[in-house]
Symmetry: C2
Subunit: 279 residues, 2 copies
């Protein structure tokens, strides 16, 4: 909220901080763990896939992308302070060969051993933190799960016991969708272009469903990076969390420098999970 | 995420729940505690003012509105997953008579005695809850404060010790601005029309500042409801929290009916704070 010129001067003058990453903290995201969705108007949304945490649903997502299944479908639901959702609103388009309609549930993940633990209990869990490879996780001591933070990508589904195939995807665009934790499968998070979904017009219709083709925002293509010609393929890196720089970044959130009043904690959804284009 | 027709059928068939408000739970918001801001395109944003919690800053906001100070100014900053901010980006427009440029800080509020306490510690506080009159609050045991949830309205300021006058206002449009708690004065919350701010195009410029007049979204008028002719004046009611129906609504968030898996808690920012037009 600082005046612009003052803030810019401070950014320019800032010395390196113990919370800044070093080069070794940046690790490559594999090409087959990046989904590049281009919306009308050359709006590119880049999704990192949670291949280690929801392998069966991510396998479906990969097959859907390799079959170019999302091309010419749309973002068809944008509900204020809730989610944007895309895919085939009719749920009539046949799924490509090899995509399982009802994969086993992956609402939870195996083990809870984050590289960084948040210092305070979470409103939705007894513990939370960030994995070494940069994913937000929470646990109740028995189960663990990826958290539905802003920009995470979940698998839409019918009523339980459906788990959804991964053809219909959504991302939280508001305060919190944490109450979806352990009830929906998380397959990724948006690492670039979130604004192309978060700033779409809201629909006042039930569940934020757009009225029809005129309101929908078309998907032009959705490709695995590994399926994009090498010369055009984007490469991204995530900031690894298993190092003291990351710990310092979390600590700075909880205990900022005076005169800013620190609150002694922060939500796992409020930890910056940095991603950059490979230099 | 349910299919639309199934979800609509469920809504239509839902019997009254212990979490539903009764008529007596709806209480009038005084006309001088409503700020009605109309943006270009007849986009109406309605703000409930936190007169009891930040009286000096709300007094300023009232004087600014009565002087029609915001008319022909703009929303000039929209930063992805952070805030939308409005007022006079030049900070050159003289403030009306009676508006104090540097009111005493109102970062904190007197006392912490919410009508409903959240069952779990909060990531940013040791306790949190909802006041009888429907505001989210948190406390560390010594201090208490209104929380910067999505849609709350805060007072932008220069570097401390400035508190801001109330002329420049912002609202969180993303995951969380809770780390602003106790560092910025909260003067209200948006009770209608949030989508006219949350869906504005993001700016990639530093701090999300729009490039200039072409990008800014104009404010046509901003009026206290009490300053609007009676025939056109909107009337709103809030849902009071000092009753067992509200407690049941919070409990339902934390402990939904199976097969939905409950998480045993919810964030104070995830409690529905209902407001409706007076019938």
């Amino acid at each position: 909220m600082l005046p612009l010129l003052l803030a810019l001067a401070q950014i320019a003058a800032a010395p390196p901080s113990p919370a800044d990453p070093i080069e070794a903290d940046w690790r490559a995201i594999p090409d087959d763990e990046l989904l590049v969705m281009t919306l009308r108007g050359d709006r590119r949304v880049v999704i990192r896939l949670a291949a280690r945490y929801a392998p069966d649903h991510v396998a479906n997502v990969r097959r859907l992308a390799l079959a170019h299944w999302w091309d010419e479908l749309s973002v068809y639901r944008v509900q204020e302070n809730w989610v944007a959702q895309w895919g085939d609103r009719t749920e009539q388009k046949p799924l490509p060969a090899g995509v399982t309609d009802r994969p086993a549930a992956e609402f939870e993940i195996a083990g809870f051993a984050p590289a960084q633990r948040m210092g305070r209990p979470d409103s939705y869990a007894t513990a939370s933190g960030i994995t070494a490879d940069g994913w937000p996780v929470a646990s109740d001591g028995q189960h663990a799960w990826l958290t539905h933070c802003y920009g995470m990508v979940g698998v839409a589904r019918d009523a339980l016991p459906s788990t959804g195939s991964g053809a219909e995807l959504f991302t939280p665009i508001g305060q919190s969708a944490r109450r979806l934790d352990r009830n929906y499968t998380v397959v990724g998070r948006i690492v670039a272009g979130m604004q192309w979904l978060s700033a779409l017009p809201r629909s006042d219709a039930p569940m934020g469903m757009y009225a029809g083709k005129e309101e929908e925002w078309p998907i032009v293509t959705a490709r695995l990076a590994s399926d994009i010609p090498a010369a055009e393929r984007p490469h991204y890196q995530y900031r690894a969390a298993d190092n003291p720089r990351f710990a310092a970044a979390i600590a700075r959130r909880a205990h900022p420098e005076p005169p800013t009043v620190g609150l002694g904690g922060a939500s796992v959804c409020d930890v910056p999970l940095a991603v950059r284009k490979a230099p």
